[in-house]
Symmetry: C2
Subunit: 304 residues, 2 copies
């Protein structure tokens, strides 16, 4: 599970910061989270295979999270894409996309599915054999949802040498992987812990942007491996954060601390700040294991 940061600026792009776009790879998925202007170029720059993206998660319909979508979606057609794409977002995205497709006379070579995300309650919005995605209600100026990505717990791994040692038949293996004991012909019971090894610990990542300081996030992201939480301002612009319904670095760290996450990454920096260091200094006083979002940075999740 890795997070690649394509854009960590706020609404106004600067020479060094693009608007929001993140790639989460988990198992065989390449999820795109938010899609600010220039995302397709950033995918190119950081060598992300755009063809592998099948799901795009849009947190809210502010331009800096969504104005890169049309370019990306129409470029797929130029590449002759046939695989469907599902767009998860609050209400309104479908109308915005369909109107532009019609007026620009763009005929997509693949199917677009739109799935509206409820921004008031946490729901399971995506699931397959290996991964779940839940929405996270956030509080911003427009309906906004974060996203919680979790690997599913895998069965335990059977130790091959034990199959030979105890002559375990094939039909018994599935139940042993799921935790069963094995009874020998003598009647002796072999404990599951002797027969199997624990599977890899499932990893988890949550994306919370944009949002004001909003403690109801805490129980939803409790104990996860990596939390991305926006930090548009530092405390020196706390009142501006309140007015615009954004968070400060301190507030992001308070959420991370309360949720006892393993690591926090902050971003969505206001262009008022030329340097990012100030955000880090402020956050680590509250939550030590904080790092800064930087474009092109790749974070391996769960290797800690």
């Amino acid at each position: 599970m890795t997070l690649t940061i394509l854009g960590c600026g706020a609404a106004l792009p600067t020479k060094t910061r693009h608007p929001s776009a993140y790639i989460l790879t988990v198992q065989d998925h390449v999820f795109l989270i938010d899609c600010g202007e220039g995302t397709q170029s950033q995918l190119e720059r950081y060598s992300i295979k755009r063809s592998k993206i099948r799901q795009i998660f849009i947190s809210h319909l502010h331009g800096d999270h969504v104005f890169g979508l049309m370019g990306l979606l129409t470029s797929y057609s130029l590449f002759g894409r046939t695989e469907a794409i599902t767009l998860f977002s609050p209400e309104g995205l479908e109308e915005m996309i369909r109107v532009q497709l019609r007026i620009t006379q763009s005929h997509l070579s693949y199917t677009l599915h739109f799935q509206v995300v409820d921004t008031e309650m946490s729901h399971l919005i995506f699931e397959d054999a290996k991964v779940t995605v839940h929405s996270i209600p956030l509080k911003h100026r427009v309906p906004t949802a974060g996203f919680l990505f979790r690997e599913k717990e895998l069965p335990r791994n059977i130790r091959p040498e034990k199959i030979t040692e105890y002559n375990i038949p094939f039909v018994a293996i599935k139940s042993i992987k799921n935790g069963a004991t094995f009874t020998l012909p003598s009647g002796e019971i072999v404990e599951n812990t002797e027969l199997t090894l624990a599977p890899p610990v499932p990893r988890s990542f949550a994306y919370c942007s944009d949002t004001m300081y909003y403690p109801p996030i805490v129980p939803i992201v409790k104990n996860i491996d990596l939390l991305y939480h926006e930090a548009t301002f530092c405390e020196n612009f706390a009142s501006q954060a309140t007015i615009s319904m954004h968070s400060t670095a301190k507030q992001a760290a308070l959420i991370a601390k309360a949720a006892q996450v393993k690591k926090l990454v902050i971003g969505h920096y206001s262009p008022r700040y030329n340097e990012n260091e100030q955000f880090l200094v402020e956050a680590v006083t509250i939550f030590e294991n904080t790092c800064l979002a930087e474009e092109g940075k790749v974070i391996e999740i769960g290797n800690w």
Copy 2:
């Protein structure tokens, strides 16, 4: 009069080419012509003062000419812009912009005027004391217009020493600037050419993209100083040019030659071509004074 090239790629942005966007400065105007994705960042990169743009000319509603507009227009509001902007384009742009403003809940701090450009006939679409802009009907897959920018002819400049020499009264000066002679008290007539110097020669620039080879362009751009004509392909993909209603470098040069323009600049290169040299080699065999569009290049118009 200078042309600054912000983006000269075709529909698919590449690592080195942005979609279409050009800045024409003429007199006190900073005109933006087309606005592909990433234009606002390109303005920043090449130090164009975006606040000075008051007119934006959109040739047609394909994404690579228009998907940068929403980012630019909403960023203006973040800067607190109050001066109105006029958007010239074929039918449909207003609906596309208004829907996005509504759904993204973007409230502009300034007024947007939309002026629909007829793509079937050439019209005067903008005029002030110093400049005129005419539309140029082009032939592409969707309604498309080019734009012809002309400085107006200024009055002749009076030679100050002649005012003293002939004791010319203030009231006579305006007519002399417009070409009148001056009659001395003796009845002797002083020719205008002795009293005045010719004004600077008005300069002219035309933007023709996207279009197939379309000779009706020729009389409209006859004898102008600089013609930008798209050259999406070279002749090795001439059939692809025909199908997609684009031009080859050779065809662009044929238009320039027939119109006897002073200089030709070609761009809108297909991503099939990694190098631009091939376009130039092909064009100069037909029209020698051709140059290549390159991002960041600034062309001083009329210094030849």
